[in-house]
């Protein structure tokens, strides 16, 4: 592992993070703006004893992930918006069958073919299930190249801890921006050996691999007998409830704040620059940046409610604002400002909505 800081793109950091976290299989289909991920892993994985398969489609890719995940091998796919839509069936099957895997979405503009520039329009799809049935993905939202690297370790650890799909929700800015990052496993990272250990109780491998008395195993999501699905879904709902403790957020300058800006990913990062500048001018404004979008860090947000107003900034037509309102339970006033997809926005463009919510406009 290299200790020095290296200039790299967010997409490259995702690829290095996957490799260093022990990912052994990558499946994917080309789509902008995430192509550096498959391109790099196609070169790096075979040398690391892994496999790279360019799938015939995103449908093919997510189903290959089901196969590799079912075998208890650290595996991933990456894509962008429209491609992620095609993967939703597979994500539902993975959650329902207790199969781990990491899915990276470098979001582009939508709906439909949209465009290839940044957007946060896939928030609902990522955190509300996306696929059919009561299923949930764990969702992490990096805002820097370093977080792209670090979050891959956390993603694999969570995927194997809960035997569930984990999504990294980035966007074209996070994926394409180039800045220095270090290739050092973050605190709490699990070794590839530990990941293998976590799959020992359920992975398929051929029963002979489990000794003389090994019994056949089955991973599935179909439960047709009356009452069987109810029983199964109770287990799944408990799994989702257990995930609540994984909620994480970054809170900055909220102690004295009258206004708390809530923003994630690249918008969260741009908002921080604006807030720091405005604070230097004496305005008491703080930042709440969710690092996990599912589970949403609602308890931490609710604690901030008394005596404060909130402004949600996001690059979509109003998605995370619903989770913010649910978290605050009507205890505080919530403003919202949306940025259109397809725009690379500067700090100055977020200043006016923040000042308006602060009460200066």
């Amino acid at each position: 592992m290299k200790k020095e800081r290296v200039l790299m793109k967010g997409n490259e950091a995702v690829a290095y993070g996957a490799l260093d976290a022990g990912c052994l299989c990558y499946f994917g289909y080309p789509i902008t703006p995430q192509n550096e991920i498959p391109e790099m892993l196609s070169a790096l994985l075979p040398d690391a004893g892994g496999h790279f398969v360019q799938a015939e489609s995103e449908v093919g890719a997510i189903n290959m992930l089901i196969g590799a995940g079912a075998c208890g091998v650290a595996a991933m796919v990456s894509s962008s918006s429209c491609g992620i839509s095609l993967m939703q069936e597979g994500l539902s099957f993975m959650a329902g069958s207790h199969i781990p895997g990491v899915v990276v979405n470098m979001t582009r503009g939508g709906p439909g073919l949209g465009d290839i520039s940044p957007s946060q329009g896939d928030y609902f799809q990522a955190v509300k299930g996306g696929g059919h049935g009561d299923h949930r993905n764990l969702v992490l939202a990096p805002s820097t190249v370093q977080e792209c690297y670090d979050f891959m370790f956390r993603a694999f650890a969570l995927a194997f801890t809960y035997a569930n799909p984990v999504m990294i929700l980035g966007d074209a800015v996070v994926g394409q921006i180039k800045e220095p990052a270090r290739r050092i496993p973050p605190k709490g990272a699990l070794s590839p050996g530990k990941l293998r250990l976590l799959s020992r109780g359920w992975r398929i491998e051929g029963f002979g691999a489990r000794g003389k008395n090994g019994q056949p195993r089955l991973l599935k999501s179909v439960y047709l007998a009356e009452g069987a699905l109810a029983e199964r879904n109770r287990i799944l709902i408990q799994k989702y409830a257990d995930m609540r403790k994984e909620a994480r957020c970054e809170i900055e300058d909220t102690d004295d704040a009258e206004l708390v800006v809530v923003a994630f990913g690249s918008i969260g990062r741009i908002a921080r620059s604006v807030i720091r500048e405005l604070r230097a001018g004496g305005r008491r404004i703080g930042l709440f940046r969710p690092l996990t979008l599912y589970p949403f860090p609602d308890a931490a947000l609710r604690e901030l409610a008394p005596g404060r107003r909130f402004l949600v900034l996001e690059q979509n037509a109003g998605q995370m604002v619903e989770d913010v309102r649910l978290a605050l339970e009507g205890r505080a006033r919530v403003f919202w400002h949306g940025v259109m997809p397809g725009l690379f926005i500067g700090a100055n463009e977020l200043e006016a909505p923040i000042l308006a919510a602060f009460g200066e406009n």
């Binding site: 299989c25 496999h51 449908v59 093919g60 189903n63 290959m64 196969g67 069958s97 398929i204 051929g206």
Partner: protein, 269 residues
């Protein structure tokens, strides 16, 4: 190798000779398939081949969606379910994650040749070292007998009530011949389950479809023409007759490719 868990009353008594036994690769759960359905025969053949090759302990079954969804309820091997049509993609992931395993899919004609055509074709084209078993009975069985890509022209189904027409529905798709064109395919053949002779031939072909995988030659494929008396509205004997008289003329039996043999052209059984 006889299993001791078998029902003792069924063991040979004094003076009796054991000529047929349950396969240790199948469990004793009663099959849920309809009377006269050929899934039971196909299951048995796959189980016998896995047993003879002594690979059941490292076999991984990738199940499909349709009547064959519950294949895993009967096989004593590690299994994973796949979404409708995606078995060959799931099997690709399994194969890449577990290079030492013997991986096979078991799919119907709707699953493999309609919704899963792309995944099946490309797994075959990549030469994934897996074995794919296609049960072709020309209808969607589990959903109640709708048209599938292999439905014969003129065949009445619940969605072609006046019979399938070329003009509206296209003609029956020949998957074994299509796959034989692909470089990654090591073995492609079509057999039928309508007679003892054909069942014996199917067993040999199935063995070959697993042999090429284990030898690392590439994708092994076998299409089995099978009966669906329920959705054909025929009794089991008439259903067998339909296979011989109506299906085999449209779907010729034979080996369309065998990477281990010279030439590899069609050899009709």
């Amino acid at each position: 190798m006889q299993s001791e868990r078998r029902n003792a009353a069924l063991r040979p008594q004094k003076g009796e000779r054991l000529v047929f036994d349950a396969s240790p690769v199948l469990n004793e759960r009663p099959l849920h398939y309809c009377p006269g359905c050929h899934h039971g025969i196909a299951h048995r053949l796959v189980a016998e081949v896995l047993h003879e090759l002594q690979v059941a302990d490292k076999a991984i079954l990738v199940a499909s969606v349709g009547c064959s969804t519950f294949t895993y309820d009967y096989f004593n091997v590690d299994s994973v379910e796949s979404p409708h049509g995606r078995a060959c993609a799931v099997a690709t992931g399994v194969r890449r994650a577990r290079p030492e395993a013997v991986v096979f899919t078991y799919q119907g004609d709707g699953d493999m040749t309609a919704i899963g055509a792309a995944e099946s074709l490309h797994a075959a084209n990549r030469g994934e070292k897996i074995t794919a078993v296609l049960i072709n009975n020309t209808v969607y069985g589990m959903t109640g007998g709708q048209m599938s890509p292999t439905t014969l022209l003129g065949q009445k189904t619940t969605t072609t009530q006046a019979g399938r027409t070329m003009g509206n529905d296209g003609g029956p798709i020949h998957f074994a011949e299509i796959l034989a064109q692909l470089g990654g395919v090591a073995y492609s053949c079509r057999c039928a389950l309508d007679s003892v002779k054909h069942v014996r031939e199917a067993k040999k072909a199935l063995r070959r479809a697993f042999d090429v995988q284990i030898a690392g030659l590439g994708f092994g494929f076998i299409e089995l023409l099978a009966g669906c008396p329920t959705n054909w509205h025929l009794d089991p004997i008439a259903a067998n007759k339909r296979i011989s008289e109506a299906m085999i003329p449209v779907f010729p039996l034979g080996v369309f490719k065998d990477a281990g043999q010279e030439g590899g052209g069609a050899r009709h059984a």
